[in-house]
Amino acid sequence: MFFLRRVVGASMEPSLYEKDLVFAVRKKPKVGDIVIANVNDREVVKRVTKIGSPALYTLLGDNEQASTDSRSFGAVPYSSLIGVVIKTFKAK
């Protein structure tokens, strides 16, 4: 299963910028992967920085100054993860 999404916001800069496209597939993420996750009924794009036990994923934005991530919503379970970004298409 694969997903194509459009990035909105600046929390993943400089890796991802607004209007970039991300192509994600359903697979098990590792630390360092950029993932799409469902948090509070909203799809967010963040980077996995830690995988805790039992399978709780800490997600942080690359742009820490402008990111709402696991620092506020906590680590998320595997079931919240939608896909791992395997390809990005730059808007510019």
Partner: protein, 133 residues
């Protein structure tokens, strides 16, 4: 064009957490005032170094004035809700005028315009704090 039809993924910081603040716009306003003070202090631009700093100060002022506008839009559209209008009936007018004032600061090199913006941003910060009581 196709991009607009694709489902968005959010790399946001204002949503969905619901964390809002007025510190960013307050600091950005103070930065604008500081940059205007610097720009006016340069006098005659008689060296490359001075020219470089002069241009940087203008750029920083304009960036921060835009930041004030962006922060105002977030607060206005995302934080304040229709029920707040009962408590602050002139909310829309205040935001509209403050955004326009931030544009004036961006456009001009004026301590007076910065001072006006400072007062208006303080008023919005007070309104925001009051709304949380």
């Amino acid at each position: 064009m196709l991009r607009n039809f694709l489902k968005p993924v959010y790399a946001h910081c204002d949503l969905p957490c619901g964390i809002y603040e007025t510190d960013t716009m307050t600091h950005a306003t103070a930065t604008c005032a500081k940059m205007v003070e610097k720009i006016l202090s340069y006098g005659e631009i008689d060296s490359t170094e001075k020219n470089n700093n002069f241009i940087r100060a203008i750029q920083i002022k304009e960036e921060h004035a835009q930041k004030v506008k962006d922060q105002l839009y977030i607060l206005w559209s995302d934080y304040f809700k229709p029920e707040h209008l009962e408590k602050f009936p002139d909310l829309h007018t205040i935001f509209w005028q403050t955004v326009k004032q931030a544009s004036a600061v961006k456009q001009h090199v004026s301590e007076e315009e910065c001072q006006k913006l400072t007062v208006m941003v303080e008023k919005i910060a007070a309104m925001f704090a009051d709304s949380k009581k």
